[in-house]
């Protein structure tokens, strides 16, 4: 058992634990905090997959920017804990059944995926997952989608201001 497997196991267990804490926590603040730790543990898993740049983006954009927005809105709305305790309603049982069913179907499909990992060549080990490789791919092959995403972010920004403003 080498260090990679130990790290993967630890990060996987911690990710699932904090993800379930997001769902089962009572106050939205603790949900948000559990979500931040989920993002950090997922960033660790991304590093194990040689995706260093995406891991950095995960910490910067998700754990940094998006979660600050979430916490800001939670504190702005001044939400308390939910009054209702853990009731076992019909919709919750149905939701749990649907989630478990989906997981079983996905696991059956994943078990059929050919489990061959391409070993990276020495040249690839130098470049795989680096900012330079991803940047070259984005600014040559995927330039039009990149510009579309920048337009999307502009529209989202203007739209958020228009929707959240009380009077214009």
């Amino acid at each position: 058992m080498n260090i990679e497997q130990v790290l993967f196991g630890a990060f996987a267990v911690l990710t699932l634990l904090s993800a379930s804490l997001v769902i089962f926590a009572k106050s939205p603040i603790s949900s948000a905090m559990a979500l931040v730790s989920t993002f950090f543990f997922l960033a660790g898993i991304y590093v194990l997959l040689w995706a260093h740049t995406v891991a950095a983006l995960q910490v910067l954009v998700y754990a940094g920017a998006i979660m600050v927005l979430f916490l800001f809105v939670i504190m702005l709305l001044n939400l308390g804990e939910e009054a209702a305790g853990p009731r076992l309603t019909f919709s919750r049982i149905l939701g749990g059944g649907a989630a478990i069913g989906l997981f079983v179907v996905l696991a059956l499909a994943i078990a059929r995926v050919p489990n061959r990992v391409q070993s990276l060549s020495l040249a690839q080990q130098q470049t795989f997952g680096t900012l330079r490789a991803i940047g070259e791919s984005i600014f040559t092959t995927w330039l039009l989608p990149f510009e579309a995403v920048s337009l999307l972010l502009l529209v989202a920004m203007v739209g958020a201001v228009v929707v959240a403003k009380s009077r214009i």
């Binding site: 993967f8 699932l16 989920t38 995706a51 989906l102 989608p145 972010l153």
Partner: protein, 100 residues
């Protein structure tokens, strides 16, 4: 070397947890957080397949998913604020004007 299918199992479990949260929780903000969980599960799948095939297209897809998630979060939270201002609640069971 960890087999790729382990990463895929983890992503499937994370996606199902997020779906369970979306179906079960009544607080609109927590529902948004569960949507973020599902987007992260999709990202993990992209990165696992990118590692398996040894190309960086999966990384580019993950980058786009993160950008779209940022846009979705800003719009969604703006809508939550607008709804809270008019209804005084973020419980999605109270918001049923568009039902029927």
């Amino acid at each position: 070397m960890v087999p790729i299918s382990y990463y895929l199992f983890l992503a499937a479990a994370l996606f199902c947890l997020g779906m369970f949260g979306v179906l079960v929780r009544r607080n609109a903000l927590v529902v948004f957080m569960c949507v973020e969980l599902m987007l992260n599960a999709a990202n993990l799948t992209f990165l696992a397949f990118a590692r398996m095939r040894g190309d960086t297209i999966g990384h580019v897809s993950a980058f786009f998913v993160i950008a779209v998630a940022a846009a979705e979060a800003s719009i969604g939270l703006a809508i939550v604020i607008a709804v809270f201002r008019s209804r005084g609640s973020v419980n999605i069971e109270d918001i049923k004007t568009m039902k029927h």
